[in-house]
Symmetry: C2
Subunit: 387 residues, 2 copies
């Protein structure tokens, strides 16, 4: 595969953007990425989005966004959907499009608009990420599926609720320094302990907030870049995608993210680095239990021992494997189809050294992992910085 | 780009499959394609689908289908959406995935389930292919948008309604010999003249029927194939994708399919053949007006002269440029997100010489064109057969 570089990034704050449409949000992120790269356009646009058809009565976002950003040449554009993994799916497809030689530059953008709808509509929309015939029909929501997994995990491995607190506390601590985060405030162990239960054992501070937002990058073949540029070049060193069953009860082991294991191994193999070579990890902490499972399946913790990394402080900036360095889903927010692209943008920010108080010193290798459903579709990407 | 071959095809009949779910339909097409190729699996599955979220309350079809067909390795799988162009979009992404080297075999499958819903639900779903803010809000449906285009076309170029009849008569004549077609009966000029008007000037026989169905192909690099096989090898010679504005009133010329022109030119350029080198053309006759516009923008007729090809018999088997040789959208049926994949499968059937009474003699080069919305997303593919 030809080497691909990310030469531009853009994002909107994650918020309740009642005054901005899907198009306006996507456009802001795309224009920011183009401006960041010093380019005027790209040959293709791949859009990651989950809910536009259901919540905005609008499909065919590819054409709509391509038209909105003014590509007079009518560039190629599609929407890609893999539930909450849609963002990274768009990134992977942009990557393959450029790698194949079919296009010489591509924008990957993730965009989602969730806060204009009634909560019941948004929850029904999110439930389409679960198995309609075998899960949703029994009244399961997306939170309750994760609650069942967390309960089982605590039972199997003997953890207490409080043991998950460091994941959320760390995410909030980092979001304080991210101007694009939805929840820019710290939380204490006391806050976590007192948080209202949503679906036992998951409480409000175990769960990520939804939101509206968009994030985008511009990809080109690395060979296009002039030699000897001052700024570091960010390249895609590894890309992996894998699936598991959607229905959690169909999995041989409901506490093991098989698709995380497979996609991470693929990304490790391509990039030539293993978990020990990764400087920081933007993982998919939709619920705190998913942080634990993701760390384990990706090789950072033993099976059942994910919470230990949090309790020992290893996930903080300066620890062995800093995670959610810009706030993660928990505090940056989780505009579902856009989340995977926020992760990629944040990895680039770290590799460029743009993260101020939450900068990972000397970061050269960053990993992002985006999850669709409760582990049904998982994509892992490893980016590297080189002079 | 490395040369890609299609080594397996599969399809279900287009029908009202009330007893079969999305999964069952997709599975039947995929298993048929694998069996046709003599293979047991593929490394990735790209799903073209438009309406599963809205009509079946189910997203994340990629994982769901990958799981259903029993890929124990948890292969990569996503859903791709470009309204009625979703099928060809899935094909193009499968093509780029294999061409990039990220995977060495890929299934592209288009699947749609439309007849279990109330007509009002299906129509609302289809309207998400139009511009929600500028078209649908005024009460336009998908048929009425096409009706406005047809009316304008007749006014500008002086055609009568009857001049469009050959498109529908030809499609039905060919569908009689396609066991997978939804409407396997011929129609007469008299039938066309008496057909009920749906949205003036479009009548029932100008419009394609919806339906449930799935179609799939298996793609591999051509270099994998053993030399000197008896059967012809079908390769992808050209692939193009382009967009235009979704809202028809936003186009400089509402009677010109810019995205058809751009994507066809791209496919011609890649394949080294022009319109004169194409032996038959599976075009997107969602409405008869679209047949005329597609023939013009793709270089088979002068501007405003598309109907002439029908009136002169040039679109029939044996004519200068046979179209809709298996019935087209009009008579094979239009399960929207699957349609683009039916077209690809049908081109392969012709190039293999499997079409019996509607076989295009000595067909070596076939073209397929799939349209999302009223011309917003258009993909053109050229396939070749070689010994």
């Amino acid at each position: 595969m030809r080497e691909i570089a990310i030469i531009g990034i853009g994002q909107t704050p994650v918020s309740e953007h009642w005054e901005k449409s899907l198009l306006v949000l996507a456009g802001e992120a795309i224009f920011a990425a183009l401006q960041d790269a010093g380019r005027e356009s790209a040959e293709a646009i791949y859009v990651g989005n989950m809910l536009s058809g259901i919540l905005s009565q609008q499909e065919q976002l590819g054409s709509l966004i391509a038209d909105w950003v003014g590509t007079t040449r009518g560039v190629e554009a599609f929407k890609v959907e893999a539930a909450c993994g849609s963002g990274a799916a768009a990134f992977r497809l942009a990557l393959m499009a450029v790698a194949s030689g079919e296009v010489d530059s591509a924008i990957a953008v993730g965009v989602e608009k969730m806060t204009d709808s009634l909560p019941i509509e948004t929850n029904s929309g999110l439930a389409t990420a679960a198995d309609a015939d075998w899960e949703v029909i029994h009244g399961l929501t997306f939170v309750s599926i994760n609650a069942l997994v967390m309960q089982r995990y605590m039972y199997e491995y003997g953890w207490e609720q409080d043991d998950f607190a460091p994941f959320s506390i760390n995410a909030h601590a980092n979001a304080v320094h991210n101007p694009n985060a939805r929840l820019q405030f710290p939380i204490t162990p006391e806050d976590y302990r007192k948080a209202a239960v949503i679906s036992a054992p998951i409480n409000l501070l175990d769960a990520s907030p939804i939101g509206d937002g968009a994030a985008a990058v511009l990809l080109v073949p690395a060979e296009q870049l002039p030699l000897g540029m001052g700024a570091p070049v960010i390249t895609v060193a590894g890309s992996g995608a894998a699936t598991s069953s959607i229905a959690v009860h169909d999995r041989r082991d409901p506490l093991w993210l098989r698709a995380a294991e497979f996609s991470a191994k693929q990304a490790y193999h391509q990039s030539g680095v293993g978990p020990q070579g990764v400087d920081f990890f933007e993982l998919h902490d939709a619920f705190s239990i998913m942080s634990a499972l993701s760390l384990e399946a990706s090789g950072f913790a033993e099976r059942g021992q994910g919470p230990r990394l949090g309790l020992d402080g290893e996930i903080r900036i300066g620890g062995r494997i800093p995670i959610t360095t810009r706030g993660g889903l928990k505090a940056r927010g989780h505009p579902v189809g856009a989340t995977g692209m926020y992760q990629i943008v944040e990895v680039v920010e770290q590799l460029r050294g743009q993260c101020g108080n939450t900068q990972v010193d000397g970061a050269k290798v960053g990993m992002a992992q985006n999850i669709g459903g409760s582990g049904a579709t998982i994509l892992t990407h490893i980016l590297k910085s080189r002079k």
